[in-house]
Every structure is written in structure tokens, then in C-alpha cells.
Amino acid sequence: MTAPGESTEEQWVDDHAGPVVRPYAVTRGRARPVTGTFDLISLVTATRVEASPEVGLGPEHLAIVALCQRIQSVAEVAAHLDLPVGTIRVLLGDLVARDLVEVREPRVTAGLPDDSIFEAVINGLRAL
């Protein structure tokens, strides 16, 4: 066991590691998630500080839980783990099914955004 904050999973979150296995080997051949759709900007957050290894969870699953202690989009998770988005969607589906992460899908097609969103973006950009 490791103390919280010294997560050994960190080592998997390395931009420079490069692909060591083919994308769908990580998902054991599955191309579709068991649940969820996962837009590129769906936001993911872990529901607990650390996921313990259990049957059906690989190191990539644990790495996602470690990474998503801070809110991340699906695209960011894919970039940080250096895995294709399709692979990440499958892994996230597994984690949602186990309640290890929570996902917020973006509001799309539900009509056009209201003024408050545009104004917040404009003000946020001006403040950069």
C-alpha cells in the first residue's frame, strides 16, 4: 500500500512514455464503452481518492482515477495517457459502471447558449 498522495500510478501518466501496447490491447479488444458516449469535452472527475486494483481494472484505469482527482475533459485524459480517444472511452465506460468516476456531458443541441455563457467567455478572455 502507498500513502495517499504518493500514488505509484503517477508513473503511468507520462507524456513521454509513448505507446507500449496497441490501443485496443488496453481494452482487451473492446471498441465500445459499456456505458456512456463521452464527448471530447465531457468532464470527468474521480469519485474517490484512489482506486484499488481489482479484477477487471488495469493500470490505465487506475491512472485515469489518479489523473481525474482534478477535473479533466475526455480529450485531456487521452492526451495525458497518450492513448487514442476511442480507447479512453472504453476505459471510462468501465470506470463509470463501477462508480469510480463521474462524467458530465456538455450541453449540446439543447438550444443555443444564453447570454450568460457568452458574456462569461468574453469577460474571461478579456481577463486573460
Binding site: 469535452i41 481518492v49 482527482q69 477535473i71 480529450a75 492526451a79 486573460l128
Partner: protein, 202 residues
């Protein structure tokens, strides 16, 4: 109040709303440069591996058996506040990956079409795409050193744009300039939305 994102109140804080803006244009026009100029971190890269057949006009002769294609997208993030996160996505340079564009354009607040006056035609497919889809967009002419400076109305005429579409000059390397482009886009997107609301319902 700042809810530090690094703390773990385990779902106690509602997740923010994520929104996106697209940065489109031809190869080498400065899309990733602009993403990097305004993002809070260096641009990240994400990849989609396409396994479907018939992804377009890839010439597969000589690589028989090739069944996957990788489409890379560079993107960046701007945290507007605790409840709003903006993502900027550079569209894949290869215009044939339209279905990736469709995914990107879904729910996008708007798009910047970057243009290079030395290769103006490179941005035609992006303009056609956003016009066809009804995505609000602005055209930002990236001022490369050594490129002849054209007047904005000349560019507007050359691109055969709707008169309402803003055209502006920019330097994609500069944060202030790129911010101005994005702010112009947001103002244009608001106007576009208001105009659509004013149209009689069918």
C-alpha cells in the same frame, strides 16, 4: 471563493460546464500556434484511431492491409471560472476527415477560420463547412512576415463571404491578438443567435 481543483471533495462540487471553440484553416496556417497563444498550458494532442474503411481518398496502394488511420487534434484549455471551462480545438488539417469535424462542431459555440493570404484557397473548405452547418465563424487573416498585406475588404471579396461575417487581421503568436479574435467571434456568435431567434418559426 476558490474551490481548489486539486482538492478532493469527492463529487461535492458540481462539475463545471465545458464549452468549445474550433480553430480551423489550412495546413500550416497557425492553428496550433493560436491555441497555444491563449491556452493556460501548452497545446495538448489527442488522437482518434479510425478503423472504418472508406475514410476518403487515402491512397492505399503499397500499404495493402492498412486498416487504421490516425487523426490528430491539438487543443488547449482556458479555465474561465469554477463553473465554466473553455476548450479550443484545432481541426484536423486533412479536410477529408469530415466525420471528425462533425464531432468537433457538435455543440461548438463558434469557429475561427485562419487564413494565409499567400494560400487563401486553403481556407475555402473550412468556410464551406461552417457555412453549410450554420456554425458562427469569423475569418482571421494571420499576418505572416513577408506576405503581402491585403485590405480586409479585398479578402472578404476574395472569399465571397456573407457581409455579416467579421474579417480581421491577427498575429496568431500573440496572446492579445488571438484574444481579440476570440472575443470578436463570441460577439458575432451572440448576434447570429439573436438574428436566428428573430426569424419567424417555420
Amino acid at each position: 471563493m476558490d474551490y481548489g481543483h486539486s482538492e478532493r471533495p469527492a463529487g461535492a462540487v458540481p462539475l463545471p460546464t465545458a464549452i468549445k471553440i474550433l480553430i480551423a484553416g489550412g495546413f500550416g496556417v497557425g492553428k496550433t500556434t493560436m491555441v497555444g497563444a491563449v491556452s493556460e498550458t501548452r497545446p495538448l494532442r489527442t488522437e482518434e484511431v479510425l478503423t472504418e474503411t472508406g475514410v476518403g481518398i487515402d491512397d492505399l496502394s503499397g500499404v495493402e492491409g492498412k486498416t487504421t488511420t490516425t487523426v490528430a487534434m491539438d487543443f488547449g484549455r482556458i479555465t474561465i471560472g469554477d463553473d465554466l471551462v473553455l476548450y479550443l480545438f484545432g481541426t484536423p488539417g486533412q479536410d477529408r476527415f469530415w466525420f471528425v469535424w462533425d464531432e468537433l462542431a457538435l455543440g461548438a459555440l463558434g469557429a475561427v477560420v485562419l487564413a494565409d493570404t499567400r494560400r487563401l484557397a486553403d481556407c475555402f473548405p473550412s468556410i464551406d463547412y461552417f457555412e453549410g452547418r450554420g456554425t458562427p465563424f469569423v475569418v482571421a487573416v494571420n499576418c505572416f512576415e513577408g506576405a503581402r498585406q491585403y485590405r480586409l475588404h479585398e479578402v472578404q471579396a476574395a472569399l465571397n463571404l456573407d457581409p455579416g461575417v467579421p474579417v480581421l487581421l491577427c498575429d496568431a503568436r500573440q496572446r492579445e491578438s488571438s484574444k481579440e479574435v476570440l472575443i470578436t467571434l463570441m460577439e458575432h456568435a451572440m448576434k447570429t443567435r439573436d438574428a436566428r431567434r428573430a426569424e419567424p418559426a417555420e
